[in-house]
Subunit: 378 residues, 2 copies
Amino acid sequence: MRFSRLGYEVTAVDNYFRRDACRELDAEMLYPVLSLEERARIWHEKTGKEIKVVIGDLSDPEVMRSLFQPDAIDYKWCVDESYTGLPDVIIHYAEQPSAPYSLMDYKHADITLSNNLRVTNNLLFAVRDFCRGVHIVKLGTMGEYGTPNIDIEEGWIEIEHKGRRDTFLYPRQASSIYHTSKIMDTDLMWFGVRMWGLRVTDLMQGPVYGLETEEIRIDPRFKTIFNYDEIFGTLINRFITQAVVGHPLTVYGAGGQTRGYLDIRDTLQCVLAAVENPPEPGELTIYNQIMETFSVNEIAEIVHRVGCQRGHPVSIQQLENPRCEAESHYYNPTYQGLVELGVKPHYLTDESVHSLFELVEGYRDNIREEIIFRGIKW
Amino acid sequence: MRFSRLGYEVTAVDNYFRRDACRELDAEMLYPVLSLEERARIWHEKTGKEIKVVIGDLSDPEVMRSLFQPDAIDYKWCVDESYTGLPDVIIHYAEQPSAPYSLMDYKHADITLSNNLRVTNNLLFAVRDFCRGVHIVKLGTMGEYGTPNIDIEEGWIEIEHKGRRDTFLYPRQASSIYHTSKIMDTDLMWFGVRMWGLRVTDLMQGPVYGLETEEIRIDPRFKTIFNYDEIFGTLINRFITQAVVGHPLTVYGAGGQTRGYLDIRDTLQCVLAAVENPPEPGELTIYNQIMETFSVNEIAEIVHRVGCQRGHPVSIQQLENPRCEAESHYYNPTYQGLVELGVKPHYLTDESVHSLFELVEGYRDNIREEIIFRGIKW
């Protein structure tokens, strides 16, 4: 919707994986979300802009490749006669995005690896075969880096060893199968960049919070999916939902786990900045897409404080950590690249937490407390 | 066969991928190789030892997991009453092993990634779920490291950065989809080691040459597969075959591409040394399984020299390199670990090249010169 508003011709491809998985796992969303076709229809009604929707599974190479046949998609609104039917930019979000999902059992690990690697590989070869000049913007994750004892750079590190030097992808060791699949994606894209001169931007994103995009103000039916369960719900969503239903905020272990976060408005700014600043052919540009860092305890304290102000006086409860992860660690990532491109950060303030509370309170009756915990361990 | 001779109870699992692929691609072997069942039958006849054979596709998680059901395999020869039906050691060779195969087109890239990652993931979860104490010996490849401008260590490197230190998997950037899939395997295994305390040895092997194992002396029908084409034939096999049919030895580009090599007798010594020296739980041990390094030009010269002595006076011909790779580069890998465990290297001598020539000359009439080149580029 953001790109469409700005005048880009947009095609969205989805296989409804997230919705299907939520149904399979009874991880109900806080509110229903319309189909992509219906959202596109309303978008057209409200803005006069068209967003083309394709429903298909991109882990099937033939489905991926069909998108690159100039006549495959009916770009009926396209007025530019030089139009080739091939894209200028591809934004690749088509991955299974949940760490707990990837560790439920061997089947969900297999689905995660198969989907994420096959979609990325299919994209790599389709771009190689049909439009090498296209700019691929791939969603990575800060989780690829893990929690090393040295500063985290933006993708690259120069290593001096026994008197010689070379520059490498920053060493990565992730703490879930999902995050490991993203390391692999980066390796695949880096291969394509070196071999075929592809142009790739990798956005190492942290957990996103918030919902208040400019597009939602056009129509509230454009809201994005909001999950609050252990599988698809991220930390801030889950804490706010717990507070609203009067459940203690559940911190895993010591709560010193520190990560980078960003507001959904900054996610949109970042993707736009990446698209508008493409790398040269044969270049892989990596940005760390976070705006500030917090420990789990710090997040719990903010949600607790704001919750108390709004009449949800829940306690903070430490649980035995169901995950294998460092609960207290060094964490010093660099994240200047996107700000240098002009992104203006929104920080996590009491005000932004109030606004999330307001949203969740509005759907208080939809919350099913029993689906929050799934007992997934690793 | 080596392990069986030494008293291990051995089960071999195969899906005949290599044979099927050779048939699909008309990459005929130098001589036919019997089925696994037939080889096991002859082995029993000659030695009195039994090797259990299972034909199945381990990229199917259910096939993998069925091997860990204690009653699934009829270990009828087993005399030890404490036997649990679960293995002590698993040697994982079940991967698509050819770089050119992985780059023929998008389908073969997809097959390579899907097979190699899914088999490894299925193994990881089966071991986690059924026998965490088992020692996994996984075949890696020296190609994971690529050709960095710093010395290549055995798997690990300590990095000092901005006054702090940490130890990481040695940075890897491979030059094919196949080799990239092996980086991913290492990442998956390292994940299992950290999360679940698995015990893994990763053998970063270089190209293997030679055929003269002790087992072949028991019966020549135990010979391993010999390919001489561009897809499955390794450099030394291909050069010797070219010399025997009077074709120039084809060097890709400048010929300075340097790699580590080892004799098949040393491969067997290395795997045995790895099995007999298991890591502790929660430990990933990595060895660089090579015995010496050569450039392509050096290999061409040895084959040329020995070929001339045997009446095959072919020239050395430089071709435009069909691959994207450094043709002249720094290369200084460490490979002391396995020698320190007692492996006694066989080096590539004129004598060992003579013996390979002798074998190939014996099958002179089987060689189909037209299948050597397949025109695969990347």
